[in-house]
Amino acid sequence: MNHQTQAIKRRPTARKSTTGIKAFMMVASIAMTVGGWGILALGQAQGALAAAQPAIVQPASTINQNGVNTFGSLSPLRQSTQSIARTRSSR
Protein backbone atom coordinates (compact mmCIF):
# COMPACT_ATOMS: atom_id res chain seq x y z
CA MET A 1 0.00 0.00 0.00
CA ASN A 2 2.72 2.21 1.00
CA HIS A 3 4.61 1.10 -2.04
CA GLN A 4 1.57 1.74 -4.22
CA THR A 5 1.04 5.09 -2.65
CA GLN A 6 4.61 5.95 -3.26
CA ALA A 7 4.29 4.63 -6.79
CA ILE A 8 1.21 6.75 -7.37
CA LYS A 9 3.02 9.71 -5.96
CA ARG A 10 5.95 9.07 -8.26
CA ARG A 11 3.89 9.05 -11.45
CA PRO A 12 2.73 12.68 -11.24
CA THR A 13 6.29 13.67 -10.43
CA ALA A 14 7.53 11.92 -13.57
CA ARG A 15 4.77 13.52 -15.65
CA LYS A 16 5.67 16.95 -14.33
CA SER A 17 9.30 16.46 -15.38
CA THR A 18 8.38 15.31 -18.90
CA THR A 19 5.91 18.12 -19.31
CA GLY A 20 8.57 20.63 -18.26
CA ILE A 21 11.07 19.31 -20.78
CA LYS A 22 8.45 19.33 -23.54
CA ALA A 23 7.45 22.89 -22.68
CA PHE A 24 11.08 23.96 -22.68
CA MET A 25 11.69 22.32 -26.05
CA MET A 26 8.59 23.96 -27.52
CA VAL A 27 9.64 27.36 -26.28
CA ALA A 28 13.18 26.81 -27.54
CA SER A 29 11.87 25.64 -30.90
CA ILE A 30 9.65 28.69 -31.26
CA ALA A 31 12.52 30.95 -30.21
CA MET A 32 14.86 29.35 -32.74
CA THR A 33 12.26 29.67 -35.48
CA VAL A 34 11.59 33.30 -34.68
CA GLY A 35 15.33 33.90 -34.36
CA GLY A 36 15.94 32.25 -37.72
CA TRP A 37 13.34 34.43 -39.34
CA GLY A 38 15.00 37.42 -37.70
CA ILE A 39 18.41 36.44 -39.01
CA LEU A 40 16.92 35.81 -42.45
CA ALA A 41 15.19 39.19 -42.41
CA LEU A 42 18.40 40.88 -41.27
CA GLY A 43 20.31 39.22 -44.06
CA GLN A 44 17.75 40.37 -46.60
CA ALA A 45 17.87 43.90 -45.18
CA GLN A 46 21.62 43.89 -45.41
CA GLY A 47 21.40 42.59 -48.96
CA ALA A 48 19.03 45.39 -49.84
CA LEU A 49 21.34 47.88 -48.16
CA ALA A 50 24.29 46.50 -50.06
CA ALA A 51 22.39 46.96 -53.30
CA ALA A 52 21.53 50.53 -52.37
CA GLN A 53 25.02 51.55 -51.34
CA PRO A 54 28.14 51.73 -53.50
CA ALA A 55 30.41 48.74 -53.31
CA ILE A 56 33.68 49.11 -51.49
CA VAL A 57 36.78 47.21 -52.37
CA GLN A 58 40.09 47.50 -50.65
CA PRO A 59 43.30 48.49 -52.37
CA ALA A 60 45.79 45.86 -53.33
CA SER A 61 48.39 47.51 -51.16
CA THR A 62 46.45 46.88 -47.96
CA ILE A 63 44.40 43.81 -48.73
CA ASN A 64 47.33 41.72 -49.81
CA GLN A 65 48.31 41.62 -46.18
CA ASN A 66 45.18 39.93 -44.82
CA GLY A 67 44.52 37.62 -47.71
CA VAL A 68 40.74 37.49 -47.28
CA ASN A 69 38.14 39.07 -49.56
CA THR A 70 40.91 40.77 -51.38
CA PHE A 71 42.10 42.31 -54.56
CA GLY A 72 45.03 40.05 -53.78
CA SER A 73 42.99 37.18 -55.17
CA LEU A 74 43.37 38.88 -58.52
CA SER A 75 47.12 39.10 -58.25
CA PRO A 76 47.82 35.93 -60.23
CA LEU A 77 45.42 37.21 -62.86
CA ARG A 78 47.19 40.54 -63.03
CA GLN A 79 50.58 38.94 -63.07
CA SER A 80 49.58 36.80 -66.02
CA THR A 81 48.17 39.77 -67.90
CA GLN A 82 50.16 42.49 -69.62
CA SER A 83 48.46 45.85 -69.76
CA ILE A 84 49.05 47.89 -72.88
CA ALA A 85 48.86 51.15 -70.94
CA ARG A 86 48.23 52.31 -67.37
CA THR A 87 46.00 55.14 -66.26
CA ARG A 88 47.36 57.27 -63.42
CA SER A 89 47.45 60.86 -62.29
CA SER A 90 49.33 63.14 -64.70
CA ARG A 91 53.05 62.48 -64.97
Binding site: V57, L74, S83, R91
Partner: protein
Amino acid sequence: MQRLEFRAMGCHMLAVLDSDDAAAIEALTEAPVWFEEWEASLSRFRDDSELSALNRSEGGPMHVSETLWQVLQAAQSAARESNGLVTPTLLDALHAAGYDRSFDLLETASVAANVLTPPPAPDWRAIELDAPNRTVRLPHGARLDFGGVAKGWAADQAARRLGTIAPALVDAGGDIAISGIRANGEPWQIGIADPFNAESDLAMLMIDRGGVATSGRDFRKWQRAGKWQHHLIDPRTGAPAETDVLAVTVIAPTTRAAEVAAKVALILGSQNGLPWIEARSDLAGLLVLENGQVLRTRRLDGYIRDESPAAYGDMILPAWS
Protein backbone atom coordinates in the same frame (compact mmCIF):
# COMPACT_ATOMS: atom_id res chain seq x y z
CA MET B 1 51.54 46.20 -82.75
CA GLN B 2 53.68 49.36 -82.92
CA ARG B 3 54.43 51.66 -80.00
CA LEU B 4 56.02 55.08 -79.79
CA GLU B 5 56.87 56.85 -76.53
CA PHE B 6 57.78 60.52 -76.24
CA ARG B 7 57.39 63.54 -73.98
CA ALA B 8 54.95 66.37 -74.58
CA MET B 9 52.80 68.72 -72.49
CA GLY B 10 55.05 68.00 -69.52
CA CYS B 11 54.01 64.34 -69.55
CA HIS B 12 55.07 60.94 -70.78
CA MET B 13 53.17 60.05 -73.94
CA LEU B 14 52.51 56.71 -75.60
CA ALA B 15 50.95 56.10 -79.00
CA VAL B 16 50.06 52.56 -80.08
CA LEU B 17 48.78 51.23 -83.39
CA ASP B 18 47.51 47.66 -83.58
CA SER B 19 49.15 46.96 -86.90
CA ASP B 20 52.59 46.11 -88.22
CA ASP B 21 52.11 47.68 -91.64
CA ALA B 22 54.66 50.20 -92.84
CA ALA B 23 51.91 52.79 -93.01
CA ALA B 24 51.25 52.29 -89.30
CA ILE B 25 54.88 52.88 -88.40
CA GLU B 26 54.95 56.03 -90.48
CA ALA B 27 51.69 57.30 -89.01
CA LEU B 28 52.96 56.83 -85.47
CA THR B 29 55.87 59.14 -86.09
CA GLU B 30 53.38 61.92 -86.80
CA ALA B 31 51.99 61.82 -83.26
CA PRO B 32 54.83 63.77 -81.56
CA VAL B 33 54.52 66.43 -84.24
CA TRP B 34 50.81 66.88 -83.51
CA PHE B 35 51.43 67.17 -79.79
CA GLU B 36 54.19 69.70 -80.34
CA GLU B 37 51.84 71.83 -82.44
CA TRP B 38 49.11 71.61 -79.83
CA GLU B 39 51.47 72.40 -76.99
CA ALA B 40 52.83 75.41 -78.86
CA SER B 41 49.30 76.75 -79.01
CA LEU B 42 47.88 75.65 -75.65
CA SER B 43 50.72 75.80 -73.13
CA ARG B 44 50.54 78.34 -70.33
CA PHE B 45 54.24 77.81 -69.67
CA ARG B 46 55.35 79.20 -73.02
CA ASP B 47 55.36 82.96 -73.37
CA ASP B 48 55.06 82.63 -77.13
CA SER B 49 52.03 80.31 -77.07
CA GLU B 50 48.69 81.40 -78.41
CA LEU B 51 47.15 80.86 -74.98
CA SER B 52 49.71 83.17 -73.35
CA ALA B 53 48.89 85.81 -75.95
CA LEU B 54 45.20 85.44 -75.16
CA ASN B 55 45.94 85.77 -71.45
CA ARG B 56 47.69 89.06 -72.22
CA SER B 57 44.82 90.36 -74.33
CA GLU B 58 43.31 92.29 -71.39
CA GLY B 59 39.72 92.06 -72.47
CA GLY B 60 40.29 92.73 -76.14
CA PRO B 61 39.01 90.40 -78.89
CA MET B 62 41.55 87.97 -80.31
CA HIS B 63 41.31 85.81 -83.40
CA VAL B 64 42.41 82.27 -82.48
CA SER B 65 43.48 79.12 -84.28
CA GLU B 66 41.17 76.18 -84.85
CA THR B 67 43.08 74.29 -82.13
CA LEU B 68 42.58 76.94 -79.46
CA TRP B 69 38.99 77.42 -80.55
CA GLN B 70 38.20 73.72 -80.17
CA VAL B 71 39.86 73.47 -76.76
CA LEU B 72 38.07 76.60 -75.57
CA GLN B 73 34.80 75.02 -76.57
CA ALA B 74 35.80 71.81 -74.82
CA ALA B 75 36.65 73.80 -71.69
CA GLN B 76 33.31 75.57 -71.74
CA SER B 77 31.52 72.25 -72.17
CA ALA B 78 33.48 70.93 -69.20
CA ALA B 79 32.43 73.90 -67.11
CA ARG B 80 28.79 73.38 -68.05
CA GLU B 81 28.86 69.64 -67.36
CA SER B 82 30.54 70.16 -64.00
CA ASN B 83 28.44 73.14 -62.94
CA GLY B 84 31.60 75.22 -62.85
CA LEU B 85 33.76 72.82 -60.83
CA VAL B 86 36.06 72.34 -63.82
CA THR B 87 36.70 75.79 -65.21
CA PRO B 88 39.51 77.19 -67.37
CA THR B 89 39.67 80.44 -65.37
CA LEU B 90 41.98 79.21 -62.61
CA LEU B 91 45.41 80.30 -63.80
CA ASP B 92 45.82 82.94 -61.10
CA ALA B 93 44.66 80.47 -58.43
CA LEU B 94 47.31 78.00 -59.63
CA HIS B 95 49.93 80.71 -59.38
CA ALA B 96 48.75 81.58 -55.88
CA ALA B 97 49.20 77.94 -54.89
CA GLY B 98 52.74 78.06 -56.27
CA TYR B 99 52.24 76.25 -59.58
CA ASP B 100 53.74 79.08 -61.62
CA ARG B 101 56.15 77.09 -63.77
CA SER B 102 56.26 73.65 -65.37
CA PHE B 103 56.20 70.85 -62.84
CA ASP B 104 59.68 69.67 -63.78
CA LEU B 105 61.05 73.04 -62.68
CA LEU B 106 58.72 73.29 -59.71
CA GLU B 107 60.26 70.28 -58.00
CA THR B 108 63.62 71.99 -57.78
CA ALA B 109 62.27 75.45 -57.03
CA SER B 110 62.22 77.07 -53.61
CA VAL B 111 59.25 75.99 -51.54
CA ALA B 112 59.74 78.56 -48.83
CA ALA B 113 57.56 81.21 -50.44
CA ASN B 114 54.52 82.45 -48.60
CA VAL B 115 51.11 81.03 -49.38
CA LEU B 116 49.21 83.67 -51.31
CA THR B 117 45.54 84.36 -50.79
CA PRO B 118 43.76 82.64 -53.68
CA PRO B 119 41.84 85.04 -55.90
CA PRO B 120 38.18 84.37 -56.67
CA ALA B 121 37.79 82.37 -59.89
CA PRO B 122 36.47 84.57 -62.71
CA ASP B 123 33.14 83.45 -64.13
CA TRP B 124 33.76 81.17 -67.12
CA ARG B 125 30.38 82.19 -68.57
CA ALA B 126 31.77 85.68 -69.14
CA ILE B 127 34.19 84.37 -71.80
CA GLU B 128 32.85 85.56 -75.13
CA LEU B 129 33.22 83.31 -78.17
CA ASP B 130 32.36 84.75 -81.57
CA ALA B 131 31.99 81.70 -83.80
CA PRO B 132 31.63 83.38 -87.24
CA ASN B 133 34.88 85.30 -86.70
CA ARG B 134 36.49 82.71 -84.40
CA THR B 135 37.45 85.42 -81.94
CA VAL B 136 37.63 85.25 -78.16
CA ARG B 137 37.25 87.96 -75.55
CA LEU B 138 38.20 87.23 -71.96
CA PRO B 139 36.51 89.08 -69.10
CA HIS B 140 38.74 91.62 -67.41
CA GLY B 141 41.19 89.93 -65.06
CA ALA B 142 40.54 86.41 -66.35
CA ARG B 143 43.48 84.27 -67.39
CA LEU B 144 43.09 80.73 -68.62
CA ASP B 145 44.69 77.35 -68.05
CA PHE B 146 43.22 74.36 -69.85
CA GLY B 147 44.95 71.77 -67.69
CA GLY B 148 43.66 68.25 -68.11
CA VAL B 149 40.97 69.28 -70.57
CA ALA B 150 43.63 70.10 -73.16
CA LYS B 151 45.43 66.85 -72.48
CA GLY B 152 42.24 64.81 -72.79
CA TRP B 153 41.25 66.66 -75.95
CA ALA B 154 44.71 66.02 -77.44
CA ALA B 155 44.54 62.30 -76.63
CA ASP B 156 41.12 62.06 -78.27
CA GLN B 157 42.34 63.91 -81.36
CA ALA B 158 45.46 61.78 -81.75
CA ALA B 159 43.56 58.51 -81.28
CA ARG B 160 40.96 59.60 -83.83
CA ARG B 161 43.64 60.45 -86.38
CA LEU B 162 45.65 57.28 -85.81
CA GLY B 163 42.44 55.27 -85.79
CA THR B 164 42.02 55.92 -89.50
CA ILE B 165 45.10 53.74 -90.05
CA ALA B 166 44.47 50.96 -87.54
CA PRO B 167 43.00 50.47 -84.06
CA ALA B 168 44.82 53.02 -81.89
CA LEU B 169 45.51 53.89 -78.27
CA VAL B 170 47.00 57.18 -77.11
CA ASP B 171 48.17 57.60 -73.52
CA ALA B 172 48.72 61.26 -72.64
CA GLY B 173 50.36 61.15 -69.24
CA GLY B 174 47.83 58.64 -67.90
CA ASP B 175 44.77 59.92 -69.77
CA ILE B 176 44.05 57.30 -72.40
CA ALA B 177 42.04 57.47 -75.62
CA ILE B 178 41.05 54.37 -77.59
CA SER B 179 39.84 54.58 -81.19
CA GLY B 180 38.14 51.21 -81.37
CA ILE B 181 38.34 47.50 -80.69
CA ARG B 182 41.66 45.79 -81.42
CA ALA B 183 42.41 44.09 -84.72
CA ASN B 184 41.92 40.66 -83.16
CA GLY B 185 38.47 41.64 -81.89
CA GLU B 186 39.65 41.90 -78.29
CA PRO B 187 39.35 44.97 -76.04
CA TRP B 188 42.41 46.91 -74.94
CA GLN B 189 43.82 46.10 -71.50
CA ILE B 190 44.37 49.14 -69.29
CA GLY B 191 45.83 48.94 -65.80
CA ILE B 192 44.69 51.30 -63.04
CA ALA B 193 47.85 52.30 -61.18
CA ASP B 194 47.72 52.11 -57.39
CA PRO B 195 48.39 55.67 -56.13
CA PHE B 196 49.95 54.20 -53.00
CA ASN B 197 52.31 52.03 -55.02
CA ALA B 198 52.95 53.24 -58.55
CA GLU B 199 54.53 49.92 -59.54
CA SER B 200 51.35 47.88 -59.03
CA ASP B 201 47.85 48.01 -60.46
CA LEU B 202 44.57 48.07 -58.59
CA ALA B 203 42.65 46.46 -61.42
CA MET B 204 42.78 45.66 -65.10
CA LEU B 205 40.23 47.30 -67.37
CA MET B 206 39.03 45.95 -70.69
CA ILE B 207 37.97 48.80 -72.97
CA ASP B 208 36.74 48.67 -76.58
CA ARG B 209 36.68 52.38 -77.29
CA GLY B 210 36.38 55.78 -75.61
CA GLY B 211 38.50 57.25 -72.87
CA VAL B 212 39.80 56.58 -69.39
CA ALA B 213 41.44 59.21 -67.22
CA THR B 214 42.77 59.54 -63.70
CA SER B 215 42.93 62.69 -61.62
CA GLY B 216 44.96 62.51 -58.46
CA ARG B 217 46.88 64.52 -55.93
CA ASP B 218 49.40 61.73 -55.38
CA PHE B 219 52.04 63.03 -57.80
CA ARG B 220 51.74 66.72 -58.77
CA LYS B 221 52.14 68.12 -55.30
CA TRP B 222 54.64 70.41 -53.64
CA GLN B 223 55.23 72.18 -50.38
CA ARG B 224 54.77 75.88 -49.88
CA ALA B 225 55.48 77.46 -46.50
CA GLY B 226 55.45 73.98 -45.01
CA LYS B 227 52.03 73.05 -46.35
CA TRP B 228 51.35 70.53 -49.10
CA GLN B 229 49.77 71.97 -52.22
CA HIS B 230 48.47 70.20 -55.33
CA HIS B 231 47.30 71.17 -58.78
CA LEU B 232 43.58 70.37 -58.51
CA ILE B 233 42.00 73.68 -57.60
CA ASP B 234 38.51 73.91 -56.14
CA PRO B 235 37.03 77.01 -57.82
CA ARG B 236 34.71 77.49 -54.84
CA THR B 237 37.72 78.35 -52.68
CA GLY B 238 40.41 79.12 -55.23
CA ALA B 239 42.73 76.80 -53.31
CA PRO B 240 43.85 73.19 -53.83
CA ALA B 241 40.82 70.98 -53.19
CA GLU B 242 40.49 69.66 -49.66
CA THR B 243 39.08 66.20 -50.16
CA ASP B 244 39.21 62.68 -48.75
CA VAL B 245 39.88 61.35 -52.25
CA LEU B 246 43.44 60.70 -53.35
CA ALA B 247 42.77 59.65 -56.94
CA VAL B 248 39.81 59.02 -59.23
CA THR B 249 39.70 56.97 -62.42
CA VAL B 250 36.78 57.38 -64.80
CA ILE B 251 35.79 55.61 -68.01
CA ALA B 252 33.76 57.75 -70.44
CA PRO B 253 32.91 58.02 -74.12
CA THR B 254 35.82 60.45 -74.55
CA THR B 255 39.04 61.07 -72.66
CA ARG B 256 38.08 64.70 -72.25
CA ALA B 257 34.83 63.70 -70.54
CA ALA B 258 36.66 61.15 -68.38
CA GLU B 259 39.18 63.77 -67.29
CA VAL B 260 36.44 66.21 -66.32
CA ALA B 261 34.41 63.63 -64.40
CA ALA B 262 37.47 62.42 -62.50
CA LYS B 263 38.30 65.94 -61.42
CA VAL B 264 34.73 66.65 -60.34
CA ALA B 265 34.59 63.52 -58.21
CA LEU B 266 37.90 64.35 -56.58
CA ILE B 267 36.85 67.89 -55.75
CA LEU B 268 33.45 66.79 -54.42
CA GLY B 269 34.95 64.10 -52.18
CA SER B 270 33.79 60.50 -51.85
CA GLN B 271 30.39 61.20 -50.33
CA ASN B 272 29.19 63.27 -53.27
CA GLY B 273 31.71 62.32 -55.93
CA LEU B 274 30.81 58.65 -56.25
CA PRO B 275 27.05 59.34 -56.63
CA TRP B 276 27.91 62.07 -59.16
CA ILE B 277 29.59 59.48 -61.37
CA GLU B 278 27.00 56.79 -60.66
CA ALA B 279 24.18 59.12 -61.71
CA ARG B 280 25.63 59.44 -65.23
CA SER B 281 24.86 56.38 -67.33
CA ASP B 282 27.83 56.84 -69.67
CA LEU B 283 30.41 56.90 -66.85
CA ALA B 284 32.05 54.31 -64.62
CA GLY B 285 34.57 55.13 -61.93
CA LEU B 286 36.86 54.08 -59.15
CA LEU B 287 37.86 56.27 -56.20
CA VAL B 288 40.92 55.68 -54.03
CA LEU B 289 40.55 57.39 -50.70
CA GLU B 290 43.30 58.83 -48.59
CA ASN B 291 42.57 56.22 -45.90
CA GLY B 292 43.23 53.39 -48.36
CA GLN B 293 39.65 52.45 -49.14
CA VAL B 294 38.73 51.94 -52.77
CA LEU B 295 35.17 52.68 -53.92
CA ARG B 296 33.79 51.87 -57.31
CA THR B 297 30.58 52.47 -59.20
CA ARG B 298 28.44 49.50 -60.17
CA ARG B 299 29.10 50.02 -63.86
CA LEU B 300 32.82 49.52 -63.42
CA ASP B 301 32.20 45.78 -63.10
CA GLY B 302 31.49 45.66 -66.82
CA TYR B 303 35.02 46.82 -67.59
CA ILE B 304 37.02 44.74 -65.15
CA ARG B 305 39.01 41.87 -66.58
CA ASP B 306 37.36 38.97 -64.89
CA GLU B 307 38.35 35.48 -65.91
CA SER B 308 37.15 34.27 -62.53
CA PRO B 309 33.84 35.88 -61.56
CA ALA B 310 33.81 34.17 -58.16
CA ALA B 311 37.15 35.70 -57.23
CA TYR B 312 35.98 39.12 -58.35
CA GLY B 313 32.81 38.80 -56.26
CA ASP B 314 34.83 37.84 -53.23
CA MET B 315 36.75 41.09 -53.22
CA ILE B 316 33.64 43.22 -52.74
CA LEU B 317 33.29 44.44 -49.18
CA PRO B 318 29.86 46.04 -48.84
CA ALA B 319 29.67 49.41 -47.17
CA TRP B 320 27.93 48.01 -44.10
CA SER B 321 30.49 45.30 -43.33
